[in-house]
């Protein structure tokens, strides 16, 4: 873990040398009281854990939207998740740099062989930010609230692998055991998202165990987090964390304005930087920008394979054909998408998972091919033919379809135009349609009135189990053909089987084998045409010390309690 070294030793050395010079200067005892005062200061710094002189200050950055809730169990948007990360105390934490699971409020934990039960041994003597003592009862209370079916929380649903209620057993104030009705894959790592609430505090969710607490909130404008004086963590020298006095989060949806404010020094970091701004900043101040490499996120498009979709039958025939989908994929120049749209800060996507997901990525997958001639030949073998520069199917219908994407996302709009140009070269006419997000979702999930959609997937989990609701054919998020009563194709049935297999096994190797096969099927059948994996780009002001941007969210402030700012 990378953290800022405490300057206390250098302060001690400086004071000692000062005292030495004082002794020389006042050899005839002209100012013995001065030496005594200085000695008292040294004594205080050494024996009473406090904060070194260089710490304190306020970190300043922006949230893209307003946080919708301060209740950590109901978090579903990025802004609320950021607040939860900074204020919430969790039992265990996935170290964003090493990706290892580390103890936090829990000193140790044990998962049963059947994957249904987890037992925690907790730290003692801790308090919430308002002074309310922390105990295993608070953990039990939090888990029961989280697993309340009426809550419908994304965090809670991640634990829900079967019907039935969760049992919590408080063994002692520092020991608790939690039993789930069915196996929960990756059970321990899921607690990284569960911020513990106080059962007894009158402040309810505003009483926190994390390094910061909400001090002031101006809706639509800004949120001020102040250091939690009761935070349990200290550094190796015994100084209480966090080093920062406060964090100010401004609500700023516009990326141009955020960038402007960063350049002016009004904002200290940008968590997710656009590639064009990365290059502009790198040209003048390379020390400010960080490219942590390929992230877990992907951009992909898919064709509508819903049987009842209100699109012409001949188009449904095209979209249902794996050959057609593969040909379209082969006609798209992903290298250009990375280079032109992301300025080289992206890689062509192999499949559902990015190579950044070292354990789960299937290293046997072939890189995506770009070959317009081969794509055309493949289509011609299906009965398509070129007529005066326009591709037509065997019934004589010109191949025209629309790609819809959400407006306001410049990168996606540009990718859609590049794809339009690529497909024009093989005689396919594409209409690019940008829609406001609710209209797009309505077409995707309710009316199914679309032909192709270009969107992205933000992966916060390394574990494929987090994408269960994407790959299961019966799920709402099985985007290309959701909520199937029974799998409509053999390959979807096979994916269902493999996903359930990996979800029911506690053997990492077996799970990996199953998910590797899922990835191979997805690449072969191309229900999603995975386009690119973006790099994790960020910007950090030189004012901030201790930052070490990584690919996992939150890239820049994952170690907020260790950050310092120079004044």
């Amino acid at each position: 873990m990378n953290h800022s070294p405490s300057p206390i030793q250098s302060v001690q050395l400086a004071v000692k040398s000062f005292c030495g010079s004082l002794r020389k200067k006042f050899a005839r005892n002209r100012a013995p009281h001065t030496v005594a005062v200085v000695a008292a200061i040294i004594f205080g710094c050494c024996f009473f854990p406090g904060r070194a002189a260089a710490q304190g200050g306020e970190l300043h950055f922006c949230l893209r939207t307003e946080p919708k809730t301060f209740d950590p169990l109901k978090v579903e948007d990025d802004a609320s998740a950021a607040v939860r990360y900074l204020t919430g105390g969790v039992l265990v934490r996935v170290n964003r740099e090493t990706q290892d699971l580390e103890p936090e409020l829990a000193i140790s934990w044990k998962v049963s062989k059947d994957g249904r039960q987890i037992s925690f041994r907790l730290r003692s003597g801790l308090s919430f930010s308002d002074g309310t003592p922390f105990s295993a009862e608070d953990v039990a209370y939090t888990v029961q609230r989280l697993m309340d079916p009426a809550l419908h929380s994304a965090t809670g649903d991640a634990f829900r692998s079967g019907t039935g209620s969760v049992e919590t057993k408080v063994i002692s104030p520092t020991q608790i055991s939690i039993t789930f009705p069915a196996q929960v894959v990756g059970l321990d790592r899921l607690f990284d998202q569960v911020a513990i609430l106080s059962e007894h505090s009158p402040k309810k969710e505003m009483a926190v165990l994390g390094p910061f607490m909400v001090a002031d909130y101006k809706p639509g404008s800004s949120l001020l987090l102040k250091r939690n004086a009761n935070y349990w963590k200290s550094d190796a020298q015994g100084h209480k964390l966090p080093y920062l006095d406060s964090i100010r989060l401004d609500v700023q949806p516009n990326r141009d304005v955020e960038m402007l404010r960063f350049k002016r020094g009004e904002v200290d970091l940008i968590n997710s930087l656009d590639s064009e701004y990365f290059d502009k900043l790198a040209a003048t101040s390379p020390q400010l920008v960080h490219d942590a490499g390929s992230s877990l996120d992907s951009e992909q498009m898919w064709f509508n394979q819903v049987a009842k979709a209100p699109i012409p039958a001949y188009k449904k025939n095209w979209f249902h054909s794996a050959n057609f989908r593969n040909a379209i994929s082969e006609a798209i120049n992903r290298a250009d998408l990375s280079r032109v749209v992301y300025h080289g800060h992206a890689q062509p996507a192999f499949g559902p998972f990015s190579p950044a997901n070292k354990f789960w990525f299937n290293t046997h997958l072939q890189p995506p091919a770009y070959n317009a001639d081969a794509a055309l030949k493949a289509l011609q073998s299906e009965g398509f033919r070129m007529e005066n520069g326009t591709l037509k199917d065997k019934e004589g219908n010109p191949v025209i379809f629309s790609i819809a994407t959400n407006s306001g996302n410049k990168a996606r709009e540009r990718m859609a135009v590049l794809i339009q140009d690529d497909l024009q070269k093989i005689g396919i006419h594409v209409n690019v349609v940008t829609l406001d997000f609710p209209s797009l979702i309505e077409r995707m999930t309710q009316s199914f009135d679309y032909e192709a959609i270009l969107l992205g997937l933000t992966n916060v989990d390394l574990d494929p189990n987090g994408e269960m609701n994407v790959w299961l054919s019966s799920s709402e998020n099985h985007q290309w053909n959701p909520q199937q009563k029974t799998p409509e194709t053999p390959w979807e049935a096979e994916i269902d089987r493999l996903m359930r297999l990996q979800a029911s096994s506690s053997n990492a190797k077996k799970r990996k084998e199953a998910f590797d096969q899922v990835q191979e099927i997805v690449v072969e059948q191309k229900p999603f045409l995975f386009l690119i994996n973006k790099n994790a780009l960020s910007a950090v002001s030189t004012r901030v010390q201790g930052a070490s941007p990584v690919i996992l969210w939150p890239q820049t402030f994952w170690n907020a309690e260790w950050l310092t700012v120079s004044k």
């Binding site: 350049k263 629309s402 819809a404 135009v417 690019v432 829609l435």
Partner: protein, 269 residues
């Protein structure tokens, strides 16, 4: 014609001529992407540089002129005529009719038309041709853009109704219809011309904003509005002043229109 008006005529003719000749002046077309020349500054091959997808900006300005210069004035004319009909008639009629018309106008001013536009987009097929999409967009703008002028016209017409010459004309037995069209409307020309002149750039810019809803000009077709959206990249705009050219061109065209219209304003007086 004054020198200024002759210059305005010449400028408009040049601009329209260049846009009409775009097919010969830029045979590559507005959609041609040079992926090795992304966001390039001006050069001898790309006079205004290239955009973020390597498309020649000068070509796109010329082709964009066709859409914006043809359709925006047409939509402006539609909104002006509607304002004249509703505001002018209401003010001239006075009494309850004027109150009702102005209440409807105020309602129009307050409603969130964004949702009507979203609904219109939903009713259009996804594969609607770019021309149909842009025609529908400008027509909608014309139908929705009359409200501000209608209010001012109502007030102007009400003032005229009680003016001496109208009273004299009425006393002389001139029919109401003739009184309105021959004696009132010409005196409303200053406001009508102001409305027309203001509407042109407003509709050009609004068309670009409607791209958020899926209306307006679809890619890869350019329009002045979509070109002007590049100005929103403020952080770098100081280093890329050539991006101001569409704005400068729009200002020149709008000012030229105004210089020509000012002749009409003088005649209207």
């Amino acid at each position: 014609m004054s020198l200024a008006q002759k210059t305005a005529c010449l400028i408009l003719a040049l601009v329209l001529g260049a846009s009409a000749a775009a097919t010969w002046l830029a045979p590559g077309g507005y959609a041609k992407q040079d992926r090795e020349a992304i966001a390039e500054p001006p050069s001898h091959t790309h006079w205004l540089g290239t955009d973020e997808l390597g498309r020649d900006r000068f070509t796109r300005v010329m082709y964009g002129t066709r859409i914006s210069l043809l359709l925006a004035p047409a939509a402006a004319l539609l909104s002006t005529l509607l304002a004249a009909a509703i505001g002018g008639l209401a003010g001239y009629a006075g009494g309850t009719w004027a109150r009702l018309a102005m209440a409807v106008t105020d309602l129009f001013l307050s409603l969130p038309w964004l949702f009507l536009l979203i609904t219109v987009r939903a009713l259009l097929p996804l594969n609607v041709s770019p021309l149909v999409s842009v025609l529908v967009t400008f027509m909608l703008l014309g139908f929705l853009g009359w409200t501000a002028a209608a209010r001012v016209l109502c007030s102007s017409a009400a003032s005229l109704r009680s003016s001496d010459f109208v009273r004299q004309a009425r006393a002389a037995g001139i029919p109401a219809q003739r009184l309105f069209w021959v004696h009132t409307v010409p005196n409303l020309k200053p406001v009508l011309l102001a409305q027309f002149w203001i509407s042109i750039p407003v509709f050009i810019l609004s068309e670009a904003n409607l791209g958020i809803l899926g209306l307006g000009v679809a890619e890869p077709m350019p329009s002045w509005g979509s070109l002007l959206k590049e100005l929103q990249g403020l952080v770098s705009i100081g280093e890329e002043p050539w991006k101001f050219v569409p704005l400068i061109l729009l200002v020149i065209v709008v000012t030229s229109f105004q210089l020509l219209l000012s002749r009409q304003e003088e005649f209207a007086l």
